[in-house]
Structure formats: C-alpha cells, structure tokens
Subunit: 203 residues, 2 copies
DNA sequence: CGATAGGTTGACGGTTCTCAAGGGAGGTGG
DNA sequence: CCACCTCCCTTGAGAACCGTCAACCTATCG
C-alpha cells in the first residue's frame, strides 16, 4: 500500500489532470503545488502542500485526477492506494472516521477561504495559514520559508504578482514582517491577525 | 436516524455557527443558504442548497457547525445523525465509499470554484451550475427559478448586487437569457458555456 | 560574465465598488 | 380597495482598488 517516491525535482509532476485516480499522495519531504490550466490557457493555483499533508483528494469523486500536482523543491512522497485504504477502513471504523474527518476538514478550510477579501486581508491570512501549518509540524511559526514563487502566491490568492510584491513591501514598512527574498519573518502576528480578521468567522 | 422537520419558513435557521454538530441535513423541499458573519460584521454566503442535497458538512471536522443555515423558502429537511451514519457505514462498506465520494465531490466542486474570474464568467458559471443541479433532479434545465435575492447571489460570487444586476441586464440585451424578477430563462446555453469556459479546466 | 528568470517599483487604466436616486412588487392597515 | 410602506431591484455617475504595461534591479547558473 505504501510506495515511496524519492528524488522528485522541482517541476516534476506527481499527477496530471485526467490521470487515472489510483490513490492519494502524502508529502514526506519538500513542497508541492496543485493547479489547473483553464480553457483559456490560464493557470489557477489551487493549493500548496507541505510535509505531512495529503494531496489529490479532488480526484476521488470522478476517478480521475482533477489537478496537476508538481514539486516546488526536491521532494519525497508516499502513494496511498485508495482501494486498499477503503479495504482497511472497512474493517477499522476509527480509520474510516479519521478519513471522513480529514475530508471534512478540507471542506471546512476551503469554505473559509471562499469569500470577498482585500489584497491585504488575503495576504495576512495566507502568511498566518502557512505559519500555522509550520507550527503544526513542529517548525517555528514566525520564520517562514515561502517555497513558492510570488507568481504562485499571487495566482493562489487571485492577485497580480505586482500586488503581492507591493503588499509585502507595505507590511514591511509597517514593521509587521521582515522580507528577504523567500524568507519572511513575522514580527507582529497579532496585528496580522487583526488584518486577517475578515476571514475569521464570528458567527 | 431520520427525523423530518417540516414547515420551515423563510428566515428560519436550521443551524447556527457554533451549534453542536450532531449530523447532516438533507433538503427535502425548499431552498436554503449557508453563510457566516465575519469579525467585521460582513456576511459571506457560502452556498445554496436545493432539494436532494446535503448541508452542514463543514461542521464535522470541529464538532461544531461552521456556517449558519437558513431557509429561503418554505422548506422541509431531514436530520441525518452523524454517529448513526458512522455506525451503519462501519458495517456497510458501500455506504462508506458513498460518503467519501460525496465529500470528495464537494471538495472538487469547491476547488473548481476558487480562482480569479470576471463578473461575466462568474455569473455564467453560476447560472449553468443552478441549471445543472435542476436537471440532475429532473427539472427543466433552461427555466431557472432564482430563489435567492440578488444580494445573496452577489455575495456568493464576491460581487456587488449592482454588478449582478448589470450583468444580467447585459446578458439579456445579448439575448443569452430572459430575466423576469426571479425567473431566468436560458436562451443560448452554448454561448453561456463559452463565457464560463474560464472556469472549465482543460488540464 | 552574459543570459535568464524572478522580484520590485512606478505610471496608467479598467473593472468593479460605492454612493445616490428612482421604480416595482408585495404586504399591511385604514 | 387603495394608500402607504418597505424591501428589492435597477440604473447612473464617480471613485477606488487592483491589474496591466513597462522599466529596472537582483539572484542564479552555465
């Protein structure tokens, strides 16, 4: 059930839209992005995937992969064959529940992300999201390594790369963050939370 | 496991953010919307729910409802207790698989919806989405009954109500649709598909 | 060291939002 | 039954945010 694929290089593809869906992918090392190309030829970044996270869920419902998945750094992944996953979870109710909860969490995250927000709000929420995911895996929450290109961040947030650049500059001028190429240090997380508050539900 | 709640009136709430999550809701009759209020007091419409569809999935992962759900028309729903659902599906692998597929489909739909699109593209895709869901339930695909207010459509699509109004007017002037208050007739579905093509993945 | 890709910054313009006013539809009470 | 109210929808004018275009800078790599 667990096949490991090592030695993935930046730009290597783990899956492509239309590929037969055989299972999910677990990130062991490196960072990945999932994206699609629309009928107009435009790219749409759908998500970033850090070590410890699962990729490829969108493919289950139709039996084919719904996104392209590519490595942003050198990476290692694990194949989780879906038929075996189902077989095991049929005997192991706790795994079944875990799977459903996992899927449900993804739905909840996406639901939170949809909505109408300003460039500042989106950027603050994005930085905090990456920070939180770092922290969950035991890494420092204040020192981020933005492994993806500005273009990818921009695309993911539905902004122009220039806007991402400008917002980061603005945040730095306000002493909220410290930017050095792909390294970002969060100086005033509380203030960032306030800016991102629009994405936080009160009820 | 199946408790039916009838006689829901427009504005009645099925769930509120923070409510204990006990189970999902199946729409039997009427139409519903789910939404949240953010920390700034702004409303964000997260989805519309037609007869035959499930609501409340976002609440599973944290054990509390993540959205408010309210009736837009007179409605009837069914409560599906989650603990019983799990218990049954532990014995019935086909139900388990069905559930996972259902969740995965929701993830795929949301994934498709995220991205950067113009007002025309969003509106065309929205009309086609409602049309498709009508057709799936055996109703005419060309004659839509937009049971929600313009304000809700606008909010859902991250547009201003004025923009929704203008786009509909523009579509009508181009003979793509015929609008009469909440009734919309799709005259040239193919052309709408072309406009919404940006939301259709090519790979 | 030159080439290339990625990132930053500035000027300008466009799509969409905001503000404002007016028109209908439906409900309520006299 | 009609006046009146309210909510919703539509339309117009102006503004704002962000995207586009363009130039320049910086890192990386052969």
């Amino acid at each position: 059930m667990l096949r490991t694929r090592e030695g993935l290089r930046p730009g290597d593809h783990v899956a492509r839209v239309g590929d037969d869906f055989r299972g999910l992918f677990a990130v062991r090392a490196g960072c990945f992005k999932s994206y699609v190309i629309d009928m107009d030829g435009r790219e749409h970044v759908k998500g970033f995937h850090l070590p410890g996270e699962l990729m490829g869920i969108e493919g289950i419902s139709v039996g084919r992969h719904a996104t392209n998945i590519t490595a942003l750094e050198n990476g290692v992944i694990c194949d989780l064959r879906y038929d075996e996953l189902l077989r095991i979870s049929a005997r192991e109710p706790s795994l079944q529940e875990h799977l459903l909860r996992l899927f449900a969490r993804r739905i909840a995250e996406q639901t939170r992300r949809t909505g109408d927000y300003s460039a500042d709000e989106k950027m603050a929420a994005f930085l905090l999201d990456i920070s939180m995911r770092y922290a969950e895996r035991g890494r420092a929450a204040e020192l981020l390594d933005l492994f993806m290109a500005r273009r990818d961040i921009a695309n993911y947030l539905s902004l122009a790369t220039e806007t991402v650049s400008r917002v980061l500059t603005r945040f730095q001028k306000r002493d909220l963050i410290l930017v050095n190429r792909k390294r970002v240090k969060l100086l005033r997380i509380e203030r960032l939370r306030e800016i991102a508050a629009a994405l936080t539900d009160a009820g």
